[in-house]
């Protein structure tokens, strides 16, 4: 924060932040850092983290666009996953304390940075791209406005990982259960009128784990910073699996 704010317009906020540097620390610990936040405006959690980093330059976290588009700064904020850059302090601070941890379920690389390999491995399995077998049209593959509308609420996913890492089924079986983010993308392409690999996509989801490990807990819906509904997408795939005839 570049401008100087008068002291009377500041208040203290205690941030309890998960710290772990595997090259130095034997085990993770929580570090309390007291920061001064302005009283006249509502700053984001990411801004608060910057203020904490001013005091503790070794504090590490991912961030890039700082406006909820890149999906880099997913983290666990006072017990609930979210994007630090679009979460105002007023929404999450309780009793003047803010606890920040890395997204649960994934291996920690350092501090708030997690290794998202398992997450992206699962995404890769659903082949998140258009598959066509027919000849390419002369200009482009068209869709009617109605067909395009089917993709609303699906294409907006920014792959931040907040949903999958809040899902207990993904915590217990991150190698077998695809997780809400990957399944939302799976439905995004099954629902796409231009895609020609529906059967192949459904075949890949028939086993007991890939999709059916979803127990409808709906943590994914509760935490999605883009307001998407992976549970509904999973339910749509399940209905398609049950109803399909061959």
């Amino acid at each position: 924060m570049s401008q100087v704010i008068p002291v009377e317009q500041l208040k203290s906020l205690t941030m309890s932040i998960y710290r772990y540097d595997p090259s130095v620390d034997e085990k993770p610990y929580m570090q309390d850092i007291v920061i001064e936040v302005p009283t006249d405006k509502d700053i984001m959690v990411l801004d608060a983290l910057h203020l904490a980093k001013d005091q503790e330059p070794s504090l590490s976290y991912r961030r890039s666009c700082r406006e909820g588009v890149c999906g880099s700064d997913g983290m666990n904020i006072n017990g609930k996953n979210g994007l630090a850059c679009v979460t105002p302090l007023s929404e999450v601070v309780k009793r003047n304390k803010l606890t920040i941890r890395p997204m649960p379920g994934l291996p920690v690389v350092r501090d708030l940075i997690v290794d998202m390999k398992q997450f992206f491995d699962q995404l890769e399995k659903v082949k998140p791209y258009l598959i066509t077998n027919s000849d390419n049209p002369e200009i482009e593959r068209t869709q009617s406005p109605e067909e395009r509308e089917e993709l609303d609420g699906l294409y907006e996913c920014i792959l931040c990982g907040c949903c999958s890492t809040s899902c207990p089924s993904f915590w217990w079986n991150p190698d077998k259960f695809l997780g809400p983010a990957a399944l939302l993308q799976s439905w995004r392409f099954i629902a796409d009128s231009r895609d020609e690999a529906t059967e192949e996509r459904l075949d890949a989801l028939e086993d007991s784990f890939s999709l059916y490990r979803c127990h409808g807990i709906m943590n994914c819906v509760s935490v999605c910073p883009k307001g998407l509904n992976p549970t509904e997408a999973i339910s749509n795939i399940r209905n398609k699996l049950i109803n399909r005839e061959k």
Binding site: W172, N173, D203, E206, D207, S208, F209, E245, K246
Partner: protein, 115 residues
Amino acid sequence: MSKLGSGTKDFIIIRVCAVLILLYSIYLAAFFISSNGVNFKVWSSFFQSPLNKILTSAFFLAFAIHTWRGTWAIASDYLTPKFFGNFGKYAYLTFRLFVAAVIAFVLTWSFFIIW
């Protein structure tokens, strides 16, 4: 012909069993409500009816299948090497054997009581 994989089959079987359990529970509740006090005579005459014997047996079968598949889901989440290290495999097998024994006991017992 429907193409159903193991996940879809399981999903349908578990839910069909759940519906059977629910319907039987409602049926039994209706019996209790409609009977003017349930004593031994009323209770034993209820189980003299072949229809009630079949429905009760179907309930126990549905209960057994539902329990077997449901506890498998729990065991494959929690009784794994992730939680228990090398002991995970044995914890899983022990639990499955225990559940199988309980189900076999309940099914056999119910069969002897009903028939």
